[in-house]
């Protein structure tokens, strides 16, 4: 590696830059947890360190009183599961068809999948709201939440990329033996791209789980709101009336962030940086 040629000074500088970066990225998360455990908000510098005299779980109880955390997590889970099912079923089918089958319209379909990624969602919120919430009457409905995210196009492109790498001879041989395309997809293609599936599940998961604008627009019923929406409503409306508004808000934030962070850390060794690059570039 060209590493050897770097001077000691350059290497130190690099280490400092990387360490500063890590602190800047991680500190707010550490602070989120610390803040969520403080009995009284302590914004001083000393407050950034755990203080046994000021630690409590009370904030979690308080936020749970105002917004039902379990219901919020459940709603986020249903919203996310719907998108995952749509993407894993229909996304895999398209990805396979784009990579391994020859059919009329394949080029157009691939071009559409690329184009969809640059369509700005802001232009769509008004017509989608009119169509889904008004015309189809799907406001305050899980289906209405899921619909605009049902099949993740980035996932489609990643699936295609991975299926393209599989040798076509493998499939041709099985076809001669009379296997159906669905069987080829299920028995040969999917088992061979398993690491890609994990990447796609993670990528797809964070979309609906973190989404705020759309579910915020279509759910007025609090019992149906995903956690991101109910926490946001808490921040913008009720936080001021709580005894420790920061503590309670941060406790909610920890609950919202934890599943994604844990999932990512557990599966990060399967997570391949290039996937995202190729997903966006196509």
């Amino acid at each position: 590696m060209h590493d050897v040629r770097m001077s000691r000074g350059a290497r130190t500088l690099r280490a400092v830059v990387l360490a500063l970066g890590a602190v800047a990225f991680l500190f707010p998360f550490y602070y989120m947890v610390i803040g969520s455990l403080q009995a009284k908000p302590d914004p001083t510098i000393a407050g950034a360190f755990p203080n046994p005299a000021n630690i409590t779980g009370e904030n979690y109880a308080q936020i749970n009183d105002r917004i039902n955390l379990f219901q919020g997590l459940l709603n986020s889970g249903i919203f996310t599961a719907g998108v995952l099912i749509g993407t894993m079923v229909f996304g895999l089918l398209v990805g396979y068809a784009l990579a391994q089958l020859q059919w009329r319209g394949r080029g157009v379909t691939f071009a559409l999948a690329l184009l969809v990624q640059v369509v700005p969602f802001q232009l769509l919120i008004i017509p989608l709201y009119v169509l889904i919430a008004r015309d189809y009457g799907l406001a305050d409905n899980y289906l209405g939440m899921i619909l605009p995210f049902f099949i993740n196009s980035t996932a489609v492109i990643i699936f295609r990329q991975y299926f393209l790498q599989l040798p076509r001879e493998l499939f041709d041989a099985a076809r001669i033996d009379g296997a159906s395309e669905l069987k080829l997809l299920w028995r040969i293609a999917i088992p061979l791209v398993r690491p890609a599936l994990i990447t796609v599940v993670l990528l797809t998961f964070i979309g609906p789980w973190n989404e705020f604008l759309w579910p915020f627009l279509v759910t007025k019923e609090t019992s149906l709101q995903p956690l991101a929406v109910s926490l946001a409503n808490y921040i913008s409306n009720v936080a001021s009336s709580a005894s420790n508004p920061f503590g309670a808000t941060l406790a909610g934030a920890v609950v919202l962030a934890a599943p994604v962070v844990v999932l990512f850390i557990v599966f990060q060794r399967y997570f391949i940086s290039t996937d995202i690059g190729s997903g966006v570039k196509g």
């Binding site: 398209v94 802001q122 709201y129 009119v130 790498q165 920061f246 962070v261």
Partner: protein
């Protein structure tokens, strides 16, 4: 280990190796050799048509008509009004201001994003220790819900929050999020921080594709670290830079959650309102979807214009 899997992108482009026999087959089978492909793709095509294509056209249609919310199923007259909705939208100073705000946002966010993510990716690319740990830590803000991290930033940047405690007398008054000058820059900083991990990964992937020999020959020519960074790395990752510019611009134009929550709906005095926030207020809260659609159409045209300029000046000739 994973980085060796560099961009298998165009390894076998669709339609490559099409023989004349293929064309023959197409005559007999109008849907291609495996018409099943169309069946497999039908749900996705339907989805794209219903969720993207149709609403896109509908949005433009709404912006040119007198459109209001009516009871489902009710037959109402929606006359064509030409550019009236656009005139209404852009005679509102708040709308003009929101476009200016996004301009400020982009001027801070986009250059900062490009410089920091390339810098961190380059540094990260050459180390062997802690690589996995650092990659995860840089990526975590991107993975986390805006709503969750907004809560911490509110705590950090409020009047007597930690940031001001550290700055002491240097802290701006009024504080960051309630100051007309600082509200938008603080939001821009927040979004840069939150999205940076994604762009670092893009650059990391692009750096794998820069031939190592170029660095070696630059070193032979006596180029130091900085010189070889400027003359090998920067041109080598140019396609990624164009992509980073495009994605960060589109993300910036989509700004909604941050001004809605960090500055209590675009405050103070509309100094941090974004066009999407105004679209929400105008279209859904005040019931003028036609005016909101007009704002959306203009916003997209502006973004396309910026993207075209970026591509022209940063994209090079290729």
């Amino acid at each position: 280990m994973t980085d060796t899997l560099t961009a298998p992108v165009a390894s076998r482009p669709p339609g490559a190796g099409k023989s004349s026999g293929d064309r023959h087959g197409r005559k007999r089978r109008p849907l291609g050799r495996n018409p099943l492909g169309l069946l497999f793709s039908a749900p996705y095509l339907l989805f794209v048509l219903a969720i993207f294509a149709y609403p896109l056209i509908y949005s433009v249609w709404i912006s040119f008509h007198d459109f209001f919310f009516a009871a489902p199923g009710a037959q109402v007259d929606r006359p064509f009004v030409g550019f009236a909705n656009f005139v209404t939208a852009f005679s509102d100073p708040a709308v003009i201001r929101s476009f200016g705000n996004v301009g400020i946002f982009l001027l801070i966010n986009v250059p900062l994003t490009v410089v920091l993510s390339l810098l961190l990716a380059t540094a990260l690319n050459r180390i062997t220790h802690f690589r996995g740990f650092l990659r995860v830590s840089y990526y975590i803000p991107y993975l986390t819900a805006s709503v969750a991290v907004v809560a911490v930033w509110l705590f950090l940047f409020n009047g007597n929050g930690l940031v001001n405690q550290i700055l002491g007398p240097l802290a701006p008054k009024p504080s960051w999020l309630i100051s007309e000058q600082w509200a938008m820059p603080t939001i821009a900083l927040f979004v840069t921080w939150k999205q940076l991990g994604f762009y670092i990964l893009l650059y990391l992937a692009a750096l794998q594709a820069v031939p190592k020999e170029l660095y070696e020959s630059a070193a032979t020519d006596g180029a130091g670290g900085f010189r070889s960074f400027m003359s090998v790395t920067v041109p080598g990752v140019r396609p990624a830079t164009v992509l980073v510019l495009l994605v960060s611009t589109v993300t910036g134009a989509n700004l909604f959650t941050e001004p809605y929550l960090l500055t209590g709906g675009g405050g103070p005095n509309g100094a941090s309102a974004s066009p999407v926030l105004i679209m929400y207020q105008e279209g859904l809260q005040q019931g003028h979807p036609d005016v909101a659609a007009a704002i959306g159409v203009v916003l997209v045209i502006v973004v396309l214009g910026i993207a075209w300029l970026q591509n022209r000046f940063a994209g090079g000739r290729d």
